[in-house]
Symmetry: C2
Subunit: 336 residues, 2 copies
């Protein structure tokens, strides 16, 4: 076993053959209507999932995604050494209450919509270092619980501005193991908090794009790679507008990602209707990555993917006190 040790910049190389063996995703009907829907393991009939509150439905989706990912790996819960999870709700109650159902050590994370890649990065680090044989990384979100918490009551029927996105109702998780066949996590790049001064809480794409650009540029520089080295550069939930900004920002620094960049938020919905710029939320990249992208990696259609989920670290209180929106993006490299 060799652990990479040096002045690491922002990146970590994972030199063991730890693999993502199985994954599982659950998503609501709207999320399953698009191109990604066919790859979702558990399409739901409605967004309540048999629960009486949105928050409980969100928690149940996450719990089911964790449980089924473990089962899909042919493992028992007792064989999982640690669960990395978080979500968008205050005090990450979806993750905490889901973790209550499992008799597994739990390390709670908050990184807004970049939680999926933060969890994968830390899971791969713990497994690669030999501190865990198997880790689960999982997250999710729910449109209605996010709207209630961050914006307006749904009953109010507030008009959404054209630069807004639609929080994905879905959850996804994967098992990261020290042995086994599967897609490998070979590198991780930890993001810094970047704030370009955007204050429009309905324009998350513009706020998050600079953080994503910062992480991608750090990654290319630290690893000596360029966009052409990846079959796909997958951002989390910048949406259509944010993706354009990301391409501009990286292009200005000499990296043209336009040929192989795709954004999870841009591709999850079938039609641009009231979701405008596309999907967002921790569940957006969790669902798209763990279903559609992972299946393409497994089939060999993609050989190497750079996955950089993106998160906006605001709260209603910070915005109410006049603060701008600090953002972050963590990246992991997946190889078939």
């Amino acid at each position: 076993m060799t652990c990479f040790k040096a002045n690491i910049g922002h990146k970590i190389f994972f030199e063991n053959a730890q693999a993502i063996i199985p994954s599982d995703t659950a998503a609501a009907p709207k999320e399953c209507a698009g191109a990604v829907g066919a790859f979702v393991d558990r399409p739901l009939n409605d967004d309540m999932f048999g629960e009486d509150t949105f928050e409980k439905a969100e928690c149940k989706m996450l719990s089911v995604a964790i449980d089924t990912a473990i089962k899909n790996a042919g493992l028992k819960r007792s064989q999982i050494d640690v669960l990395f999870s978080g979500d968008l709700l205050n005090q990450i109650i979806s993750a905490s209450f889901a973790a209550r159902d499992f008799d597994i050590p739990f390390l709670g994370l908050y990184s807004a919509c970049s939680t999926m890649s933060e969890a994968m990065l830390l899971g791969a680090a713990m497994v690669n270092a030999g501190y865990a044989n198997r880790a689960v990384a999982a997250t999710g979100s729910h449109f209605a619980s996010a709207e209630r918490q961050y914006r307006y009551p749904l009953e109010q029927g507030t008009t959404r501005p054209p630069q807004s996105q639609w929080t994905v109702t879905g959850a996804g998780g994967c098992v990261i193991a020290s042995a086994g066949k599967g897609v490998r996590i070979t590198c991780g790049t930890m993001g810094r908090v970047v704030d370009f001064g955007v204050t429009d809480v309905n324009n998350m794409g513009a706020a998050m794009a600079p953080a994503c650009a910062d992480t991608l540029l750090s990654h290319f520089r630290d690893t000596g790679t360029s966009p052409e080295d990846y079959d796909l550069i997958l951002s989390g939930d910048l949406g259509a507008l944010g993706s354009r900004i990301l391409k501009d920002l990286t292009w200005e620094k000499g990296y043209d990602i336009s040929a192989n960049h795709v954004d999870c938020g841009e591709i999850i919905y079938k039609v641009i209707e009231d979701e405008f710029q596309g999907g967002s939320g921790a569940g957006c990249s969790a669902v798209v990555f763990n279903s559609y992208i992972l299946s393409k990696l497994r089939s060999g259609q993609f050989r190497k993917v750079l996955f950089a989920a993106t998160g906006a670290l605001l709260s209603t209180v910070s915005s109410g006190q006049g603060e701008s929106i600090p953002c972050i993006s963590h990246a992991v490299v997946l190889e078939a």
Copy 2:
């Protein structure tokens, strides 16, 4: 370098000599009036710290603790590879906005009042594995921002029940390095979510004690140690009542910790006045550990300390929807 690799249970041994070189704490006048106050690096004149909102004051305390810990180590910010931080506020805005001031990779955590030990565990893991040369672990809390968010507006003057605790206004952080003299982190035990069905949001000690007991018992079992092996077993913020419950629960399982157990919440305040059971909040264990306890470890008064911060993973929404309070505790072993 040898990384421990096996079926790990809940524990991780850190075999490299990574050390906590420096630390820094900031705390408000009430917190500095007690026995711990003399060890606080930066006693504040008031709880606003020159800011115009409680949340900004909380963020500034945390930012100062991080910055000063780095300076105390004789380091520049650019020499820190990763910052692990989180706090109690929705979307951990104190940590996220503090991280915005630093050009350092940031991994956001949420583990309520057990964030200090979660951050130290992950920081030590990253440093021990060679993924970082130096990591910072830090957290904080503020009485007024916590009251506003979790309970009642201060202006309402709500009477506090006798089983309640007082959220500490303070922050603390430490640098964990792969080389250097100092107190060493030699082991970590990751906690599971434990919920004994307590629903009284004013009785956090009773809710958290079972989680702390679960982690301590896992730790003793997994490491083959017993309470006598530690000069001090330090829980996070159980308060007076929670500490009694913890001693009972561990005693029932054959481990008598009564001779060397101390709770941060029990010792931080000088007089039991309106804080009743003692201190709580992420800042409670952050301040007590990084000032008082660490100085005793440095001076050799303590040789080996088991530090288990404790967190209640509820939110106002979860309690409003009738849920009980899931809790967690992560433990690290410090050796002089």
